[in-house]
Symmetry: C2
Subunit: 359 residues, 2 copies
């Protein structure tokens, strides 16, 4: 167990936004909420899975919806606690810890808010090692852990609980509800024992996010190249440098959907590439040819500061670097890959690991 300092939370929020591949919410909003919670309720205790008892109940916590909405509607906090507590009450069991479902500026941090406010351990792990746009797209699903019982709550005080026959139905019902909840709600789901999560989850995601955040911060302080430092620290590939020349973004079905065009500069001058996103960046293409796709990570960074830019913040004129990072190997197993294959997102192509093209 270690205590998360405010500095650590800053690094984690920054690094998690890199792993969030454009989704998972604005790191600034997540950071502010977590630091405020820590100041008010006390520090977050970060536990490894090995430090928990095998049958301890762990209840992940997250925000669900279109991250663009967060810019104008901050999570209230009470809604997160309400969903979390509703799930424990419904199960008739006391959660022993919370954790992240996915990495992302907000969704790596929401569990810290729960952990600080309810004085619960937070686990250094998640269910994706990145962010994905739909509930069933987790390694938990691939390992047979059910998303239900599922709880969701909005800022008005409405709470929904569900038991579904599979995790895709949880997504279907929750997605239609979140639209009526103003495109943002707080959820608790995928509750499981520490033993189950050891098998299905990705350990160390919070520490990895912290390492990424730290590498960016230190490079900035040393006036080194933060994008290069980041790539080196985690083995990511620089895919492109370009200026955003067109952003087509819409909120649809509770998601941020769209495409962004990039005109290359420096060694990429003359080339045009396209980024495709549904909350997260899912594919990167050139003239209709897909270069990198999910489940590998595609992240857009400010070219000078390496600040990750989430899909809701993409704007004309931004000068960015696009990096690609191999996904966790667990995603490349058949049962996992079928949940997040490029074809699932409507791209009729085979998946080619990023390191095969850029390594």
């Amino acid at each position: 167990m270690r205590l998360l300092t405010e500095a650590a939370i800053e690094d984690i929020a920054l690094g998690a936004a890199v792993l969030g591949t454009g989704g998972g919410g604005d790191p600034y909003i997540g950071k502010v909420m977590a630091i405020e919670a820590v100041r008010k309720y006390g520090p977050v205790e970060l536990y490894t899975l090995d430090e928990m008892n095998e049958d301890d109940l762990i209840v992940p916590a997250a925000g669900m919806g279109a991250p663009v909405v967060l810019i104008e509607k901050l999570p209230a906090g009470d809604d997160m606690i309400r969903a979390f507590e509703a799930l424990g009450k419904y199960m008739g069991k006391t959660p022993k810890a919370t954790m992240s479902i996915e990495a992302g500026g907000l969704n790596s941090i929401m569990p810290m808010y729960v952990a600080a406010r309810l004085r619960l351990p937070m686990i250094d792990a998640d269910g994706m090692g990145r962010a994905f746009p739909e509930i069933q797209m987790t390694l938990f699903t691939a390992h047979g852990i059910t998303a239900t019982p599922f709880a969701m709550s909005d800022e008005r005080g409405n709470t929904i609980l569900m038991e579904t026959v599979n995790n895709k139905w949880t997504e279907t019902f929750a997605r239609t509800l979140v639209v009526h909840m103003g495109a943002m709600s707080m959820i608790a789901l995928y509750s499981a024992t520490a033993k189950e999560i050891k098998k299905a989850g990705i350990p160390g995601t919070i520490s990895l996010a912290e390492k990424i955040g730290k590498s960016i911060r230190q490079a900035r302080q040393e006036e080194a190249n933060p994008v290069a430092a980041l790539c080196k620290s985690v083995g990511a590939f620089l895919l492109f440098k370009g200026k955003l020349s067109d952003v087509n973004r819409r909120v649809e079905g509770g998601w941020n959907l769209g495409e962004a065009k990039l005109e290359g500069f420096d060694e990429y001058a003359g080339a045009t590439h396209t980024l495709h996103f549904q909350n997260e960046n899912l594919a990167f293409s050139k003239s209709g040819e897909f270069l990198v796709t999910a489940p590998d990570l595609i992240t857009v960074l400010d070219v000078d500061t390496a600040e990750p830019i989430t899909t809701e913040h993409l704007r004309y004129g931004m000068r960015v670097a696009v990096i690609g990072l191999p996904c966790h190997p667990a995603w490349r197993e058949p049962k996992a890959l079928e949940l997040v294959h490029p074809r699932v997102f409507g791209y009729d192509i085979d998946y080619v690991p990023v390191e095969e093209r850029y390594g």
Copy 2:
């Protein structure tokens, strides 16, 4: 307490479809389900509210969705029991009885299925004395009884529970879910004590339905005029006789929505009237002038047999009688009327009681 015989169930299903004002589901389907349940599990015991203890928990049961779907998708039965039992489990209390939320061919009968299968009393009462298309449109709402905790289940085995800040939010969330459940689901809601339901509900609705059904059946046997017999038995007004010349019906947002045009015959020859419906018949007009509207009851009957015709069965060429029946006086109190005023349904007119125009 009295036992409901198969003959009584036949009369109730017929009469309830008259009170259902075109909605509440097909009486034939309801009847078949209830009789099958009674044969399999034993008779239904019908109790008056006075026969219950004041603090007995009563949990109403109903189907929700577009009744037209029932023509091709019969309720499975298990889905109804699953919703009912999920609610009791969630509340941590044992329901002592069930009842109808609304009168209607299916929704007067679904509680009989629950009562027969779970060996529970059914209460001779409902929450409307008719049917209405939205969850919050009950006299329970007018009396401050909450629709939540609310349970809904589909035939796949998915179950949703909700707690909302008001009954309109229950409607909003449940309606969007029912669309994804194939436009039909089974629900349990408005749980309350016998004491509360005595104040808010309408007593004797099941007996009233039975009386209506019986009057039609006897008139048919005696080769009398069943429409006239029905009007006499409950004080309804004959509004029109006509042939359906156009039916514009669509399934939208989990409802049957539409209008039907009627060309008069007999003493109404030469006149054209229009029926407006949203699951239920909500208004009856002539050349844009509204003659009768909710909350009064508008029911379409086969002109010869007085068989009530639900909105999903309206078809070109049918020869029908349209009758109007004053709603229960409780609907004319301000807090109740504002829930079901013609303006709520988009008709910008004052409510004029049917007996003022036709009495």
